[in-house]
Symmetry: C2
Subunit: 289 residues, 2 copies
């Protein structure tokens, strides 16, 4: 027992005092725990995650970009657990969705629907002062959410206090009007959803004025990546063999999620894709089922 | 008398039903009155303004850009009234100030000071939720203004509802704190100042939530251009002979307004400028005294 504790301590506490550079270009201390959690999130066992974290710790050097560290984790995972390796690309895959072809608000709508919410996209809502186009209106159990979606396609992009302030002012104007919201009745709440991260100041301000946030790893235990994993709402852009041509063809056919791709394949609706390419993406997609 | 009325009617009512294209790229009906007012604003007599407007009316054609019309008005003015011609370039001169070298907030500070306001630039102000950097804090007679300055350097740039919403949310957070504002006591008001135009929706929203606006030709009878004319706060960029090198030299010497240039010249502080160039800009500057 004493030995076990000792081993465990050895395995987690040797963390080197290195600074690494994150995707926003800021320095942060290298974290053994973060590597461990990243690997576990995508399905690695605790033992496998610890092995990976120890290997990474040996290879990390001062000033290394977290992007490089993620590539290393992925390289380890791809050998041991192909499905985990795929899931590990989720953040990149979200950025590849693009502002056209597959608007982020549709994706958020699907996440909310899978969680039992009624959803109306792109609604015109009247405030006391002016009208607004609201990306997503949603309701469940008497709680209505005004959802503003902020899609970002650069790794370094963040959502800041100004984005929260704009939504908060919108919320104030709309609630001043005091009428049912396009058919939805209930307490109105503002929610800012993004595929990116929030700045610390934006989080502080949002918590203070009462704007809910949903973003990458925020809220910590219930961020967007967790909702996607839990609901298996993987975008097709997560499949390594999906090239731009295929993405375009599938978008034109209205297919944007991996489970939609698998369903269309079962119904023999994908004959517009060359057989060898189709086989490849379907076998990748099946790893995520 | 009857004849006089007839002549006057002829002079103003023949306005052609042409559409012209404004700096935002939008169509608007050609307005004889606008030409008349533009010429009068910069100092033309009513008779001279009417002559100009009639000449312009003959030359305007469907789809002509307002920019071209302004050039024509300026060409007429330059012969008749050189000082008016200079003032006519004020909007362009404001855009040439640039975000560096002569921040717009300093300019707004000077306008406010000349109107009897106490002014503090670039203040850190605490709200209930977070801190803010406020471009300009100003006070007069128990009215305190939180001024946000929006400098725009493209003719097509506008200030929209989101800019107003951000300031409004800031104002709400700061007034929630309910403490004297960096030494200024009084009723706090939000004011958005810009060298550009506001969108119609921004004006509607601002009037509704109580954000004051100061911009180009807004408020209509007391816009920024009027405050500049009334206070003779012309930026040195209004002088036609001022090239980029001279602008840089003068900015380095802290000279940004025409009256500062004239004062420095009187005090023989401009010996860093070649005599022939200095004579030219000083004689242009004197037209604006």
């Amino acid at each position: 027992m004493a030995l076990n504790i000792l081993i465990k301590k050895n395995m987690t506490s040797k963390t080197k005092k290195f600074f690494v550079v994150n995707q926003q270009g800021q320095k942060e201390p290298f974290s053994f725990q973060k590597v461990l959690q990243s690997a576990k999130r995508v399905g690695a066992t605790h033992r496998m995650a610890q092995e990976i974290a120890q290997k990474i710790e040996k290879e990390v050097v001062e000033g290394m970009e977290t992007r490089v560290i993620f590539e290393k984790i992925k390289a380890f995972l791809v050998k041991e657990m192909p499905s985990a390796s795929l899931k590990f690309s989720l953040k990149d895959a979200m950025r590849k969705l693009g502002p056209t072809g597959f608007p982020f608000e549709k994706f958020i709508g699907k996440v909310l629907e899978k969680n039992g919410y009624k959803v109306k996209l792109n609604q015109i809502v009247k405030g006391k002062c002016v009208e607004y186009e609201i990306d997503c209106l949603t309701e469940k159990g008497g709680e209505v959410y005004l959802v503003e979606c902020k899609y970002r396609n650069l790794a370094s992009d963040v959502v800041d206090t100004q984005n929260v302030a704009i939504l908060y002012a919108k919320f104030l104007d709309i609630t001043s009007k005091n009428t049912p919201l396009n058919g939805f009745k209930g307490t109105i709440n503002p929610l800012l959803a993004t595929n990116a991260k929030f700045t610390t100041r934006a989080i502080k301000y949002a918590n203070c004025v009462g704007v809910s946030l949903l973003g990458w790893k925020y809220p910590q235990t219930q961020g967007l990546e967790r909702l996607i994993d839990e609901n298996k709402l993987y975008p097709i852009t997560i499949l390594p063999s999906l090239n731009k041509n295929l993405l375009l063809l599938l978008n034109q056919a209205g297919i944007v999620l991996v489970d939609e791709l698998l369903k269309a394949n079962q119904n023999n609706q994908l004959n517009f894709i060359p057989a060898n390419q189709l086989n490849r993406i379907i076998s990748e997609a099946k790893l995520l089922e």
